[in-house]
């Protein structure tokens, strides 16, 4: 069997996970982790040049290409950040080399699971991949073994499992709906076959299935009121994992939802998933924006900001139509880049100061200018101020939906503004207040953070036409 690029983006993480689990020495394994992530990223880029064939198990189309490239890119930059992050954790003794071996193996396992979820053409396989991704992150969130980390991991495990169980029930219902039309056996779970025949499926069964899928995968997206695991998991795990959770895993769950949304769109008698998604999106935006005001832990604060942005993205995809889908896709990309950059900065800041409490961090722009201004730039981007990329995508979301649903858009804008106030209120003293806490210079790797921010800035000023036409294709595909 000859292995094409689709197989390779699964094989590289799989092999490196096995290698990292047995190799000693964290300096070496950290480098190997970076190399493996880079190799996966380069392989994913090759998908644009040579397009491998989609089969019964693996699928490649314009939609998941975007997701794969984004996932592998941030997976790579995070591995670079992770290398310098864990160096510090070893020195302070928070992690031991044995745990690091486990950590690196799990990191590659997570990349494998996310890539598999993105290219799976089989809804059962996709479910398995999302489940594996959940389990690996549960293990990594609990890796510090403190009270808080264990509680966070436990909560994440229980809520994540419930979500994943509901998603499986939805998957079974989809198969039940498909069986009378496409027949028994493997075909009833192959996504491309399902979409081709979805028009003849029983609409009532599809409706119920989608509700389960929305609740199930929605838990993993972090939509309110199913978000309870998210802030804890972000706050207590190692920061590289917070970056990957916010930047990637939420997207992967969203991708699963979008696939099923596309299937329902084919069946005219089934409910339109749009209103459900719009409602959950708006609830998430407003709820998370209000929650930002009372945060005392800096990582928890940005976790709530992630809920807010996932709300905006789900809102955009829920509204649907070429323009709103385009805006949602752009917003998702921008949010992933910005939020992981913010977590890179926050990770180093927490290491320098030895705390995550907002009250104990102060005057960063004076004590650690590079980190401070990097984080400030990230915050300016994430609240949606011009000229950065998120301003552009939020503007597109608002303007594309305003004509169709002005009141909903007003609520959305209100949420965005409340969130802006909350974030600036909290981050102001951290940036410009009196210097507090330890002021040691940071041994940080600035490259990943500033690369992300530069990309976001560039997207805000000038979007390359290739990217625009690519996103437009995907937006059309999404319907």
């Amino acid at each position: 069997m000859n292995i094409d690029a689709l197989g390779a983006i699964l094989l590289i993480p799989a092999i490196s996970a096995a290698l990292l689990a047995i190799l000693p020495g964290y300096m070496l394994t950290a480098k190997l982790n970076v190399v493996a992530a880079l190799a996966t990223f380069l392989t994913s880029l090759s998908l644009f040049v040579i397009e491998p064939h989609s089969g019964q198990y693996l699928l490649l189309d314009d939609l998941n290409k975007v997701f794969i490239v984004l996932t592998t890119f941030i997976g790579f930059t995070t591995s670079v950040f992770s290398a310098s992050y864990i160096h510090h954790e070893i020195e302070t003794g928070r992690l031991t080399p044995a745990f690091l071996r486990f950590y690196h193996a799990m990191y590659q396992m997570l990349m494998l699971a996310m890539n598999l979820a993105l290219i799976a053409n089989n809804i059962g396989l996709m479910w398995v991949a999302v489940e594996v991704a959940t389990l690996t992150t549960v293990l990594m969130v609990g890796i510090y073994r403190t009270h808080e980390a264990l509680e966070a991991a436990w909560k994440y495990f229980i809520l994540g499992s419930v979500g994943i169980a509901l998603a499986l029930f939805g998957t079974i219902l989809v198969y039940m709906a498909a069986r009378p039309v496409v027949g028994e056996g493997m075909d009833g779970m192959v996504w491309t076959v399902l979409v081709r025949h979805a028009a003849q499926f029983d609409p009532a069964l599809l409706n119920v299935a989608f509700v389960f899928l929305l609740l199930g995968y929605g838990t993993k997206v972090g939509l309110a009121p199913l978000h309870a695991w998210l802030p804890d998991a972000h706050a207590e795990g190692p920061t590289p994992i917070s970056a990957v959770l916010s930047g990637l895993l939420l997207n992967v769950a969203l991708y699963a939802l979008l696939r099923f949304k596309m299937m329902l769109a084919v069946n005219s008698a089934a409910i339109t998933p749009g209103p459900l998604m719009v409602t959950m999106g708006l609830i998430s935006v407003i709820f998370a924006a209000l929650m930002l005001y009372r945060r005392r832990d800096i990582k928890r604060m940005f976790a709530y900001s992630s809920i807010e942005h996932m709300g905006i993205i789900v809102f955009a995809f829920g509204m649907g139509g070429p323009l709103a889908n385009f805006a949602g896709l752009l917003h998702m990309t921008m949010h992933s880049l910005t939020k992981s950059a913010i977590f890179f900065a926050v990770g180093h800041i927490a290491q320098v100061k030895g705390t995550q409490k907002i009250a104990e961090i102060g005057g960063l722009t004076a004590t650690n200018p590079a980190l401070g201004w990097g984080l400030m730039l990230g915050v300016i981007a994430i609240v949606g101020l011009p000229p950065l990329g998120i301003f552009m995508s939020e503007f597109l979301v608002v303007s594309s939906t305003f004509a169709r649903a002005p009141w909903l858009t007003v609520i959305l804008v209100l949420g965005i503004i409340i969130a802006l106030g909350g974030l600036f209120l909290r981050i102001g003293p951290v940036m410009f207040g009196d210097p507090k806490g330890k002021t040691a210079p940071a041994e940080a790797s600035y490259v990943p953070m500033f690369t992300h921010l530069a990309l976001v800035l560039m997207a805000g000023i000038y979007l390359p036409p290739v990217l625009v036409s690519g996103f437009q294709n995907v937006a059309k595909l999404l319907g």
Partner: protein, 220 residues
Amino acid sequence: MSSLQFDIAHLLAGSLVLASFMMLYQDRLYALLNVYALHAGVLALSVAWQAYVQQAPHLYVTALIALVFKAVIIPVALHRIIKRLGIHREIENVIGVGLTMMAGIGLVALSMVVMLRVTPGADALAREDLAFALSVVLLGLLIMVTRRNAVSQVVGFMSLENGLVLAATGAKGMPLVVEISVAFSVLIAFIVIGIFLFRIRERFDSVDVQALDRFRGERR
């Protein structure tokens, strides 16, 4: 399909819902585990019957896994863990037994109404199976939210998983994915028992999740 075959399938799936109800009101951990073993045993019978009716031999494997692993190994292992940790006292319910049972009845009624109404096209066995499976899933969720104790939450989750297996086997001809998902439930059970209970014990001297709540991230 003969009506006898249908009746037996119906009886077994119904017994599974009944076993879920029995789990709802158990107030001792050992008793809860015994009922869970019964739950898994009924599931094994039900899956084996489906395998016979649908003439799908691979489902016998699923039935065997349910019987050996879920009905014997897991309960025995949990028994030993509970003994080692010395936590065989009462389970603290968040709400009273009466209220829990009422909620359970409501959930079963809900799943009957929803599933029977949306599946008029499917064959009778699959319909009933799906309705019962949803009841078991929802009752499993109810067990999880009404218990504070980590072990009983895991038991609730495993009963929920049983409901999923019932649904998957009821969907005739569902491909290999069933076995994969069963393998995953095994993995989950391993992770839970091996890592979490151990670590929770190590750090808290208690597996009462309420004890964990004291350490919530923001109240430091």
